[in-house]
Symmetry: C2
Subunit: 468 residues, 2 copies
């Protein structure tokens, strides 16, 4: 490892033993669009070392880029411009400090992977319900800093809703100790929720109290064919009316996504011989005594009767349920195999989703020949609206219109009261979008808070607010 003179001076101020080799993975992000500057990588073992590193960086005037599992999709973990930052990896803070089964709470350090947190809850007969495709790699610190979503938000909320307290190092290098295990605590400003979703710009979360929810007595999974997203939403309303809060996931899958899978992952078993236009993937978690199968059969019958569904499959075993979810989780892999022109992580008010999708199809057709894979967490109004080259064309052929296409999509979303970043965050990728479309008073208040808590601007510069 060769260090610049500035790095040398910083290294001398760090706690001993925290420096790591700069492996290439520290400088990469999953979509390969951003490449990080090589500086120092420090991996503290505890919160005190984390605080010492932040103070050393503040003194040396070196930026800090916190890093969890590195699975973020908006380049919050990658700084590709300006002087090389210190990469603060939470990988060594990977202890589950405590589990309180009867309280339904665990205390996990930021380097714990989401899968490990889920396993720890399962071991005591509970669940940590946050679930997303990258959970084997994504870490709790990153999941909280980006307020990650995933497939169970409909029932359990996003990461923010599953966190009762945090321990964090503020940009001043001070340690905020607020690892409460309380469902109710109205003692002043909600700094927990301010740091959650701040993407490392207001400090570094080092540990968190997480909710372990009770397990439903029965679970069931089904896939039902629907004519369009509006029918899917009506089916969701029907399901929620019948099952109280028992609908834990409600995902929309498009025929385009299924065709991509058939092409690139032919080994994935598809539920219907003819590829339908749209499928709703439904998971329910229910009280004892009802029978998840019976509940899903009842929903299917009611859906048929009201003309909302045309065909359906109810998983008859855990294996079949896992296959259905496997199909859903392969959709991003199918997308990657095809190669997207542009991806959009959007949310919309539920009542305008159907019209938005139709309007966007019309507008996009005017821009050129392309394919759309629209899928995602329909129950939350959160769609991944991704554009692909027409059959036989390459994505590079769309390079000159790609940015305009994204801008058009985002403008249509914002005009309809939606969000240009539903669950991935702003990062560096969308910092200019926030400046353009965010409510100006809100963005100004955000800047005021950033300036007050991090006057030197050392924490993850370029994220949320454009650099420079």
């Amino acid at each position: 490892m060769s260090l610049s003179a500035a790095d040398d001076r910083l290294a001398a101020r760090l706690p001993s033993g925290v420096l790591r080799e700069i492996a290439p993975t520290y400088l990469e992000e999953p979509r390969g669009r951003f490449h990080g500057r090589a500086g120092l990588v420090a991996a503290p073992r505890d919160v005190e070392e984390t605080a010492a590193i932040i103070r050393a960086c503040a003194e040396a005037g070196v930026a800090v880029v916190p890093r969890g599992g590195g699975t973020g999709l908006v380049a919050g973990q990658i700084m590709s411009d300006g002087p090389a930052p210190l990469i603060l990896s939470l990988e060594r803070m990977s202890a589950i400090r405590d589990v309180f089964p009867s309280e339904g709470v665990m205390i996990a350090e930021s380097g714990v992977t989401l899968q490990q947190a889920r396993d720890a809850a399962a071991q005591v007969g509970r669940q940590f319900p946050l679930s997303l495709a990258s959970q084997g790699t994504a870490q709790i610190g990153g999941v909280l800093s980006t307020n990650a979503g995933g497939v169970n938000v409909l029932r359990y909320g996003n990461a923010r809703a599953l966190c009762l307290g945090i321990e964090a190092v503020l940009p001043s290098g001070q340690i905020m100790r607020d690892l409460k295990r309380l469902r109710k605590d109205n003692t002043g400003y909600d700094l927990r929720d301010l740091l959650i979703g701040a993407e490392g710009t207001l400090g570094v979360i080092t540990a968190a109290s997480l909710v372990m929810a009770p397990l439903p007595a029965e679970n069931g999974v089904a896939m039902m064919q629907v004519a369009d997203p509006e029918a899917a939403l009506d089916l969701l309303a029907l399901a929620q009316g019948r099952m109280a809060g028992g609908v834990t996931a409600f995902e929309l899958i498009s025929g385009q996504g299924l065709r991509f899978l058939r092409q690139h992952f032919p080994q994935i078993r598809q539920p219907f011989d003819d590829i339908p236009d749209w499928i709703a993937l439904i998971e329910v978690g229910l009280p004892a005594g009802l029978g998840a199968d019976a509940a899903l059969e009842g929903l299917f019958a009611a859906g048929l009767e009201s003309g909302l569904v045309s065909d359906g499959v109810i998983a008859q075993s855990g294996q079949q349920a896992a296959e259905m979810w496997g199909l859903r989780e392969h959709i991003p892999l199918g997308n990657r195999a095809v190669g997207a022109i542009a991806s959009h992580d959007i949310s919309l008010p539920l009542s305008v989703i159907g019209q938005f999708i139709r309007d966007a199809q019309v507008r996009l057709a005017q821009q050129g020949d392309m394919r759309i894979n629209c899928f995602g967490h329909l129950g939350d109004g959160n769609l991944h609206f991704n554009l692909f080259p027409a059959e036989g064309r390459r994505r590079e052929e769309y390079d000159d219109i790609r940015r305009d296409l994204s801008r058009m999509i985002h403008e249509m979303v914002v005009e309809r009261g939606g969000s240009f970043s539903a669950e991935h965050g702003v990062g560096r990728l969308k910092a200019a979008d926030l400046a353009r479309w965010g409510d100006p008073v809100r963005v100004q208040a955000m800047r005021t808070i950033k300036q007050a808590l991090d006057p030197a601007g050392i924490m993850n510069p370029g994220v949320i607010f454009p650099a420079g």
Copy 2:
């Protein structure tokens, strides 16, 4: 209305027609411990008038005390020291601007009462699940500013969890327009959750997007006798294991509370002839097809078998269910009739509650002869732990030890990882407590934010941070 010269100058800057007569109610709070200074009362009709009032106050250097229904219990709505403030009443901003039944969202102005919001949701076959005793008077703005709790937090979360977006006037007089109707929106700092629970010190919420949850298909209510709070918590775990997320409320009632009711509200029908030591009041909201009665009977049988419950009553009609809730809601009235020495709105990690109650009984017995009524939202770890004179003694006899008793209780709570304000907030009543027991780094960060957003300190001074 006679105005001082300073008031005259401020009045001249206000939008026309916003001034109100200073009725005595503007200067009172429910417990009668604080009395407000009489200044101006302004009631804006819309957000622009609200902003103009804030700007006028900023220019005149007059403090602003926002006021909703006035039901708060920590004097957040009453400024009794210093120069008379302008009281900003949201009473005229009482429109439900929009209802989106298919989205499960309504847009309500801050002056809408909680009951009106609940009724608006019920009219479209949904529910606004926040519920508390003062809901006929409490207003949405106050409910959000204090992050109110109530009896359904266990299933639906507190006020914060039920709000998707806000419109607010910041201390600068600028209007933040963020009335999104989105379940997911990760576009920067969570200013919504920062203003929620800020008790009017960072601005004034003028309207909010509120979640209308689906109604459960079936509801049921029961009261079950338990030996102690630990047995009640075990019963809750048993219920949650059997009913997935279907337990919507789980309240603890003490024998002392029942004795107060028998004495002061003999017309309230009590469920058991002999007053038990403890009762759990349980409400469930379940999917169709299960039968709430059957589910509660099953729970009761399982509770009997495991020795957790000794007797029980399941409501056989909506009327009986309402009577059970009526009993629960009369408990604070019983308390008021007896006259408390001191009241405590505390929360604790669930696993330490039983031991805390026993420890506190021992410690209090050492301080003098008194009665304890401990009741509340056990499922959230939130207890109202209130002290009353011994039989035949007057509360005034305890005046010299009252503050020490509260301090002792709060210290015991804080030592055990609990909160000295679970759901009522800090207000002016507990500002010194926060300074004493809050994590110092957290409190300092709160001050930094307050200073940055409200440098002149005009918004609700003395709340959260001690005056002066």
